[in-house]
Amino acid sequence: MTDTVYDVIIVGAGPAGLGCALYAARDRLKTLVIEKMIPGGQIYNTDRIENYPGIVRVDGPGLIDQMQKQVESFGAMISPGCEVTALEKRKDGNVAVLCGGDTHVARAVVLALGSQYRRLSVPGEEEFRNAGAGVSYCGTCDAPFFRGKEVVSVGGGNTAIEETLHLAKYTRKVTLVHRRDEFRADKVLTEELRLEAAKPDGHLVIRYDTIITAIQGEGTVQSVKLKNVKTGQEQDYPCDGVFVFVGMVPNTGFLKGIVQLTEHGFIRVDCAYLRTSMPGVFAAGDCRIGAAMQLVTAVADGVNAAITMKQYFRDPRWWHKPVTDEIQPGGW
């Protein structure tokens, strides 16, 4: 237990947390960022970022390294390796967080918790995943282990397409399975995917209207059960591995009963000022309701929270007042 009272504690050092920390630190607010693993979050695993405006192409670790250095250069403290497990409003108006055995106190808290891989929840997925026996959620991590082999990937968003294209570089064959007949990914990516799929060697195959209903094999993955959602037809499809890219779920379990959450676990906020149901606590990035789940929007959320936080410091009673153009936190 320390006597320090920070101006702000930011929970999570992904893009949202680091964006917030940058603005808070530049405004000379005493800033602590608590991170359960290492800075970067999900974006750390990406080797190809091409949609960050102003940066033609960068890899995740490279971008995070820059963000972190920038944040620390203005005096913010980043504390990795500790997971926040509790949050509490104190009688003096401050907010306390608990991580490890330590309590940290601040005038305001920004929850930038991010999200984690959604599971398919089909038989075999958990077992093969835990055994390291052919189920993965990260193509950039595990593609090299499937050199010359055949894999199935699942999903319809940007990550699914990008990762499938990455897998195509290593595997003998990758089959992308999607439950609808069109992808929701950026058109630029689906065009690139279709070009690869059109190549005569057949090393990239797309199966629309199809889902995986089971992952099968003796010891390691040997096949998946596929089902066509329109015809109902099922088949066993041989493969050596399955890569799952079906979205993310917010890391908000510990907040149940503490701040208002949606039934899917996203933190309820007003989308202008990012205020949660607990005065002094903001939410930013993938973990909040209505998040676009993008690197850039997470950073923007973090910055918005850092700015509206100052309105809260000016007038704590403002917390429950509606969104209005009389309060433009950035000033006008």
Binding site: K36, M37, I38, G40, Y44, N45, D47, G60, P61, P80, G81, E83, Q116, R129, N130, A131, G132, A133, G134, S136, C138, T140, C141, D142, P144, F145, F146, T220, G241, N251
Partner: protein
């Protein structure tokens, strides 16, 4: 590059360092391209320090030691194998959210 406490193992050293070790050995299969492996690294270093004398922590770069990786059927990184008296007694694949605690919980039952 071995940090303090973490021993970099190659295929020819595997038998001596791991299978013939007097204390249990946690072997971390990692790769330079792997983000989660970087997340795991500081945790493994802390564990090596905390359990010094009771546990040995080794690293194998699967990009350089491809034969070891395929012989041990590594399909995902990071994968951690726990060896005791030359036998594989447990394994963890990937970095879980409460990684340090999870790892300790899995290791402790095998320590003297």
């Amino acid at each position: 590059m071995a940090e303090e406490g973490l021993i970099e193992v190659t295929e020819d050293k595997f038998e001596d360092e791991v299978l013939r070790s007097e204390v249990p050995v946690l072997v971390d299969y990692w790769a330079p391209w792997c983000g989660p492996c970087k997340m795991a690294a500081p945790v493994l270093e802390r564990i090596a320090g905390e359990y010094e004398g009771r546990l040995k922590v080794c690293k194998i770069n699967v990009d350089e030691e491809r034969e070891v990786a395929s012989k041990h059927r590594i399909m995902s990184v990071p994968t951690m194998f726990l060896f005791k008296n030359g036998a594989l007694v447990d394994q963890i694949v990937g970095v879980t959210p409460n990684f340090e605690n999870d790892l300790k919980r899995r290791i402790e039952p095998y320590l003297d």
